[in-house]
């Protein structure tokens, strides 16, 4: 089963002498999660009453409570106007990463979290990096935003640039490493249990241990660590933008 970690359905394309590889499973799951989110939002949007004066339906109340929670938890320190502006972006990042992490608990062979692929997490981190500069330039003006790299002293410019780079790098690697580490650990435990099953003496113990430990690890790394890492990813995105707009 550890062989499955390296075995992938990869589409190779040659564009102008460059070899470009697409991991079809990761792409399919990432697009599937996007479609799921679109369907979810469409379903929630359809439940809203047309008339704003009408008494709230159950879906409207759920939506309002969820947005209120996201606004206080993810965008705590922001002024009201900016919090409203950033709420869709940060909530979408949170929900997308959350559902991507939760895909790994589905018992379907070859299906794995898209977030255990470095390209997906780097894409998300680069998107956050772009938004940091967009909001920094918009809220403070381009000149003041660029000048913030010369603070507190102009000769610290290289340090600021390296810090910027390392921040984005660790933002991507944190999510990737946590999810991939959990997946590898779960796979190794199941594989060890499978190997121990070959000895008749150990078979019942190995079966029970493998099933219970495998389920426990899957729940821990899939549900709990997945939710925590999604929260951390969204909170850090919000914190990075907050530093840029202050």
């Amino acid at each position: 089963m550890s062989g499955e970690l390296g075995k992938k359905l990869i589409l190779h394309l040659k564009v102008g002498g460059m070899d470009i590889a697409f991991d079809l499973v990761v792409m399919a799951v990432a697009v599937g999660v996007t479609l799921l989110l679109v369907l979810l939002s469409w379903w929630l949007r359809r439940g809203l009453p047309q008339d704003p004066e009408a008494p709230p339906t159950r879906r409207a109340a759920l939506l309002a409570a969820a947005m209120e929670l996201a606004e206080t938890q993810l965008l705590g320190g922001y002024p009201k106007r900016l919090a409203r502006d950033l709420l869709p972006l940060i909530t979408t990042i949170f929900l997308y990463v959350l559902f991507c992490n939760w895909v790994s608990i589905l018992p379907i062979p070859y299906i794995a979290s898209p977030t255990q692929d470095i390209n997906v997490t780097f894409g998300l981190a680069l998107m956050v990096y772009t938004m940091v500069h967009v909001y920094g330039a918009r809220e403070r003006g381009l000149k003041r935003h660029l000048k913030s790299y010369l603070e507190p002293y102009p000769f610290l410019l290289p340090m600021n640039l390296i810090g910027d780079f390392g921040r984005t790098l660790s933002h991507a690697f944190r999510l990737f490493g946590n999810i991939l580490g959990g997946a590898i650990l779960t796979t190794i435990v199941l594989e060890l249990a499978g190997k121990a099953m070959r000895f008749p003496m150990l078979a019942p113990v190995a079966f029970l241990g493998g099933v219970s430990l495998g389920t426990l690890l899957n729940a821990w790394f899939g549900l709990f660590v997945g939710a925590i890492q999604a929260l951390v990813f969204a909170l850090l995105a919000s914190a990075y933008i907050h530093i840029a707009v202050e």
Binding site: F173, N178, L236
Partner: protein, 80 residues
Amino acid sequence: MTGADIIAAAKYLAAGLCMGLGAIGPAIGEGMAASHALDGMARQPEMEASLLRTMIIGQAITESTGIYSLVVAIILIFVA
């Protein structure tokens, strides 16, 4: 033992050392963060929600160094 065997053995040894030594620092750091957060929560239970959130973010950032060593270990085993 041929040269390839020695290189393969060295890879696994290096990956194990990298992960084992790299896990020490984050483990101590995260434990300290949790213990101080618990201190704060015991003193001021009304601050629990905000302390928990800040503790989790701090621990996630502390974890970065451990994640770096995990990435290096993965590269050693699967890529190098």
